[in-house]
Amino acid sequence: MNKSVLTQPLRLSSVSAVLLFHSLTTTMLRLTAGRVGSLVARRATVALTTNSARMASHEVAQAVDMSQPMYVDRLDTPLPDKPYTDVLTAADKSLKQKEKGPWSQLSQEEKLALYRLAFHQTYPEMKRPSAEWKTVLGGMFIFLGFTGLLVWWQASYVYPPRPRTFDEEWQAKQLQRMLDMKVNPIEGFSAKWDYEKGQWK
């Protein structure tokens, strides 16, 4: 492999490099579509499910009305627009009535039940770690490796022959010629060369 590999611009492998960058920045968003909970992602996933359901015609998917207040589990929204449970059983309704009174009369289980009526996930549940980083890292390395293969192929089949000006011998002759011409003799190149001793100062 010639030395000019790293000095040439990488055109063919730039596509793969772009894919790598893409995986770095967007994999998290893609795999956690439900968690992000932004309206656009929600709308996209909901639209996808309804279309595929209609096409498959196995079951009818629930079409979510985006114009109504929605419940969402988000770290930055501690109090969503509406409570989690819409339909309350008779037991839930009686519990809600009891909630209107003094809360010291509520037992621990009742308090937890009321919480679960209003919310879907707790903050620790929302924040629970996932194994997604393994997928991200794995994808990154796959694309990195593929890019490496492309670079290798490029160096073998695409690059033109190495210019003769890169040879050690040519570079030495070039250097000597620059010193003979006294390139920048006052403050620059030849100023650093000691002409009496024949060496760098």
Binding site: R177, M181, K182, P185, I186
Partner: protein, 76 residues
């Protein structure tokens, strides 16, 4: 207890009155620093170089090294 009315006017003027003198002073310092740090030493270096400069000697050295096309070294 009601809060004092915040300042509504003259904000840009106040900022300029504070920052412009500092900006001018720093620019002046930068210019003076560059003059005496870079240009004066450079002028001195050029003066020293040309004080002991023999053009003919330099030309002959270059000619013997073979860098010219119009005049070749004395050997050829």
């Amino acid at each position: 207890m009601s809060l004092a009315k915040p300042v509504m006017r003259g904000l840009l003027g106040k900022r300029l009155r504070f920052h412009l003198p500092i900006a001018f002073a720093l620019s002046l310092v930068a210019a003076i620093g560059f003059k005496y740090g870079v240009t004066e030493p450079r002028k001195q270096a050029y003066a020293d170089f040309y004080k002991q400069y023999d053009a003919v000697k330099e030309f002959t050295a270059m000619k013997e090294a073979g860098v010219f096309e119009s005049v070749r070294p004395s050997g050829e």
